[in-house]
């Protein structure tokens, strides 16, 4: 082992914008810990893309790295363009649930289908936090938010299961109450090819917890811990049993041809043919 872990090594010396108790900080520090444990002394082999939302500010501009802060929902296409032309770089997307599976959902599904070699880390706080706590596609049924004052009348989306169905190479979900597991999954995902998706269920005490009756971030973490069900165990339970639960664990880990591989095969063939003709 090299030097001990120091988060400051990877961060610009400017103030962080997160509220007290924000789960985004756990995701940030576990990611950088995973980077450190993977042997990266700096982020020079990485490019970070993010969209609009609190968690998009995890890399931008705080990481001492190339960080491309895109529009709401469009980080995955931008990351796709970068990865296709710089396949040697590790392209990592940070985004919230609204960004990745709300406004940007179509890109998420197609990126998994293409198996484009990027890692998407979705910080799921189940709410639109930055804009003041509006209902999200991930908000639990009947939750009171600023735009569902009578409780949400919609059912939430399961992003991890969707990623599996769409063809992702690696899918894991943890909560911020599982920092060690989260870090391990990040380490595995960093070292893999293809489309990788990690969902980090995260507390937003300001725009979610406060309004649904949690006193502070600690109470929310307790809620995550008590309601988390390991995926092996979840397989034995019925839909009704799992309705209020958070299924955590590694959902899939597989190898299939990635977009970088298939597209560069095409380029190779086309160039061979043109030389022959």
């Amino acid at each position: 082992m090299g030097e001990p872990f120091s988060i400051r090594k990877y961060l610009r010396p400017i103030p962080l914008p997160f509220c007290p108790g924000c789960g985004g900080l756990t995701v940030m520090s576990e990611f950088l810990r995973a980077i450190h444990e993977s042997g990266h002394e700096n982020l020079s082999k990485f490019v970070f893309c993010s969209g609009i939302g609190c968690s998009s500010w995890i890399p931008s501009p705080h990481f001492i790295a190339d960080s491309v802060h895109t529009l709401h929902g469009r980080s995955i296409p931008v990351a796709t363009g970068i990865k296709l032309l710089r396949p040697d770089l590790n392209v990592v997307v940070f985004g919230g649930d609204g960004d990745i599976v709300g406004i940007g959902l179509s890109h998420f599904i197609h990126a998994a289908r293409r198996n484009i070699d990027i890692l998407v880390i979705m910080v799921n706080n189940m709410i639109y936090g930055m804009t003041g706590g509006q209902v999200a596609p991930t908000t639990p049924f009947k939750t009171k938010t600023t735009t569902t004052p009578y409780g949400s009348f919609e059912h939430p989306l399961d992003a991890a299961r969707l990623a599996v169905t769409a063809g992702a190479s690696y899918v894991a979900r943890w909560t911020t109450a599982h920092p060690n597991e989260l870090k391990k999954s990040m380490k595995s995902a960093i070292e893999m090819k293809g489309f990788r998706f990690i969902e980090a269920v995260s507390q937003c005490p300001t725009a979610f917890g406060r309004r649904v009756g949690f006193k502070d971030a600690r109470e929310m973490l307790k809620w995550f811990k008590e309601n988390a069900v390991q995926i092996e165990q979840a397989k034995k339970l019925s839909e009704e049993d799992l309705a209020e639960k958070i299924v955590v664990g590694e959902f899939v880990q597989k190898q299939r041809p990635t977009l970088v591989e298939t597209i560069y095969n095409v380029i190779g063939e086309a160039q061979k043919n043109i030389e022959k003709s």
Binding site: I14, S44, K45, V47, C49, S60, P61, I64, A65, D66, S67, V68, H69, T70, L71, G73, R74, I76, P77, V78, A79, T80, G81, I82, L84, L85, R86, D88, L89, S106, H107, H110, I263, V266, I267, E269, A270, Q271, N273, I274, S277
Partner: protein, 382 residues
Amino acid sequence: MKKFLEANTYFWQGNGACAEAALAAGCRFFAGYPITPANEIAEYLSKRLPQVGGIAIQMEDELASIGAVVGASWTGNKAMTATSGPGFDLMQETIGWAFMTETPCVIVDVQRAGPSTGQATKCGQGDVMQSRWGTHGDYSAIALSPNSVQEMFELTIKAFNLAEKYRTPVVLLADEVIAHMRERIILPSQESIEIINRRKPKPNEKAFFGLEEVPPMPSVGEGFNAAVTGSTHNEYGIRFTADPTVHKQLVERLNSKIQNHAEEIADMETYNTDDCQIGIVSFGCTSRAIYEAVENAEAKGIKTGYIRLKTIWPFPEKAIKQLAETAKKIIVPEMNLRQIFYEVQRVASRFTEVVPLNKIGGGELITPEELFRKIQESVKNG
């Protein structure tokens, strides 16, 4: 077969000429979504780009297409997309992001008859203002208007050069007629084509978003630790979303870096502009009617001159003003309901009368006969 086609005379379609020009200009990435009447550009590049080591990919929609193009540009490569009105609508937010992040890229808009789905296979010139004001906020745009297959080639190369020189998105505002017609094109040799590439920063440079009018642009993966954002940022790319001075400086520079060079960017074909009774200001497919109409007018003894705009934005005010000081009337023929007309009026109305000639529907062009009649009418009405 070589990477580039030999200098020769060919018989080509406009969209094909645009695609081949992109390769000649150094474009190595295309992302698009199917839409009439721009499809041939995507089809042509899907075959040709891999042959030169580039990438063409069909994305899930226009938002993804332009997003991938902007991402590709930040790797130091030249990138392009091609679309038509409805797709151009969907791209606008990301085009604004490209303006704000000063990302060179080329957007080809093959205009069809709008609004909305309109007449998908029919020609129109209704996106003139969209190419200037399509995204929100204050910015200055560059848009080029080809009127032949030859110019589809030449102006595509120019679009890439301007994008790289000024670090900005550039719109090639083509139209269905020019994109789909086939005619003779004289292809120059690759060596004779002037290619401009973006200025790269020196190893220790850090100000990629200010200090200079057009700052140097790093690529990702080169160790510059570039912080790129569409939010208001200082010269180092750090967000300042509440500071009035930082915002004012950034937005004013984004405008002035184009507007200060409007005359240098302006490109047009002119005829008799300093000695004419009737002046014509035209662009794109419509401008193909001016040659015969002017010939007919001159045969009747009417001194006629014209400005054919190759660059629509920034609007070439100086040239229009000169024409207005000479001509008794200026006719503005266009296949929309007065988009360039009001621009000409804005500049020329202090000096002369500006007369519209508009035609929309069914993709029917303004004929030389119709323009000639308008010239005669204008003389008669005095």
